[in-house]
């Protein structure tokens, strides 16, 4: 592969903290890699763990879930549920051999534009390292 592999990361961001934090990164003109695309949900608690599996199936090389820091959830508890769910999902994915680093979760608050940049850069870097995800990508199997 002469061209450097450009990974494709799908991210789910809560509206109140992480999405706002990502917006702040924008208003602050902080630069970060372009390989991550965001799906906005109201709360990290909204992210169905099956979304992660689905994202990998559909072609994501990496997935990120990001929400408010514990205790800061706009809905008080949503991120606590998210944390529990995705901690397990993380374990499960690793257990079946999905490279660590493909699945990520972060807390980014509305004021952490700079942290958002670091998170994106880190997640994209990890996905780059892991390479294209093809373990169970749909990709026209047996068509």
């Amino acid at each position: 592969m002469s061209e450097q592999f450009q990974p494709n990361v799908v991210a789910f961001l809560c509206n109140w903290c992480s999405y706002a934090g990502a917006d702040l990164a924008g208003t602050s003109r902080i630069k970060y890699p372009h390989n991550l695309n965001v799906i906005r949900v109201m709360c990290s608690g909204r992210v169905n763990p099956l979304f992660v599996i689905n994202a990998f199936q559909q072609g994501a090389d990496g997935v990120l879930i990001s929400g408010c820091h514990p205790g800061d959830c706009h809905y008080m508890e949503g991120n606590f549920y998210a944390r529990r769910r995705f901690s397990l999902m993380n374990e499960l994915l690793e257990y079946v051999g999905v490279e660590p680093g493909r699945f990520n979760m972060s807390w980014v608050s509305a004021s952490e534009g700079a942290k958002w940049k670091d998170v994106v850069a880190g997640v994209v870097e990890k996905a780059k390292e892991a390479g294209p995800f093809d373990q169970f990508r749909r990709n026209k199997i047996n068509w």
Partner: protein, 327 residues
């Protein structure tokens, strides 16, 4: 000690009660080492009841499997109890069903059967292949006694017991309305050596193991159907809109299905091992379930199916749940 006479007497009494609809127990199967669930409607059917190391079926499944047919106008739905015989693991399924409101406490009558471990039929049939006529099997200390057509054979438990039983911590029903005989000692400490072994491997090794397993899945969904916890009216695995998982069987859909199923049982699976037992293509589903059970137990100090008053794992949290994986 297993006391079949007592079991049958109590079964007779139970089915004779006005408030009991039927009783689910075990009976000798139609051939070899098979055992079948026994739906007992009247006392005359008690003689068929057995309890032996062959009784692996988790009968709690039937509490939620029974379809609710339309009730003709003017009639009342049958609200009588269903009596069910449970081993230790099965009783946890009942408790978990109570926690998840799949059943109501006053609709079940739980008959507890302390259990010294059930057999892995695959191991047994390998040892004694081609046996057609029904076989009697008994516990005897750390041995299992097989009364085969060509004589009685003793086999050390370790060689034929199901894997889940070798490390079972709850051989005695954790909940019952009546317990049939004395409690037994637990066989194991529920360690997760097998899980840890897998965890040690590198991602490539892990995936090559699972890829092999997942790709042979025929998506019959027996594992789901037999699971006492899987009783959704409309399972997401079947749903067409939205379609989470395509119907076609290939490594992509199969993996997605396997992960989704395992995840749905996180903090709920009571490790009865039924899913793995029924899988016609021998996918080691328990390895997935046990991985999650391990995390749930070790990191969250939570075990499903023990306390009917407890909150379900997936619908609760602790403010200090672990978060070392979070960036």
């Amino acid at each position: 000690m297993v006391d079949l006479e007592k079991m049958r007497t109590i079964a007779k009494e139970t089915v004779s009660r006005d408030d009991v609809r039927y009783l689910i127990g075990w009976r000798q199967g139609t051939y070899g080492f098979r055992v079948s669930p026994h739906f007992m409607k009247g006392p005359e059917e008690a003689e068929k009841l057995i309890f032996s190391p062959l009784c692996s079926n988790n009968l709690a499944t039937y509490l939620t499997l029974t379809e609710k047919l339309p009730v003709p106008r003017g009639e009342q739905p049958d609200s009588r109890k269903i009596a069910v015989m449970v081993k230790g693991c099965d009783s946890r399924a009942v408790v978990q069903q109570l926690i998840e409101k799949g059943i109501e406490r006053e609709r079940v009558f739980v008959i507890g059967c302390p259990c010294e471990g059930v057999l892995d039929l695959k191991k047994v049939e390998e040892k004694f292949p081609g046996i057609l006529s029904p076989v009697e099997v008994e516990w005897s200390g750390d041995k299992i006694i097989f009364t085969l057509p060509d004589g009685v054979k003793e086999v050390p438990k370790g060689e034929v017991l199901a894997k889940k039983c070798l490390s079972c911590r709850y051989p005695n029903p954790v909940m019952s309305d009546i317990t049939l005989w004395d409690e037994v000692k637990s066989l194991g400490d529920g360690n997760y050596e097998d899980v840890k072994e897998m965890e040690e491997k590198n991602p490539q090794e892990k995936w090559s193991f699972w890829k092999d397993k997942f790709s042979s899945c025929i998506r019959c969904y027996s594992c789901r159907n037999v699971c006492p916890m899987c009783y959704c009216e409309d399972c997401v695995l079947d749903r067409l809109n939205p379609q989470w998982i395509n119907r076609s069987a290939n490594i992509s859909e199969n993996s997605a299905f396997q992960l989704a199923r395992a995840f749905h049982l996180a903090g709920r699976c009571i490790e009865c091992g039924e899913c793995e037992r029924v899988c016609p293509v021998d996918i080691p589903l328990m390895a997935l379930n046990r991985k999650l059970a391990k995390e749930v137990r070790e990191q969250y100090e939570f075990e499903p199916g023990l306390d009917p008053e407890s909150k379900p794992f997936q619908s609760s949290y602790r403010p200090n749940d672990k978060e070392d994986f979070i960036l």
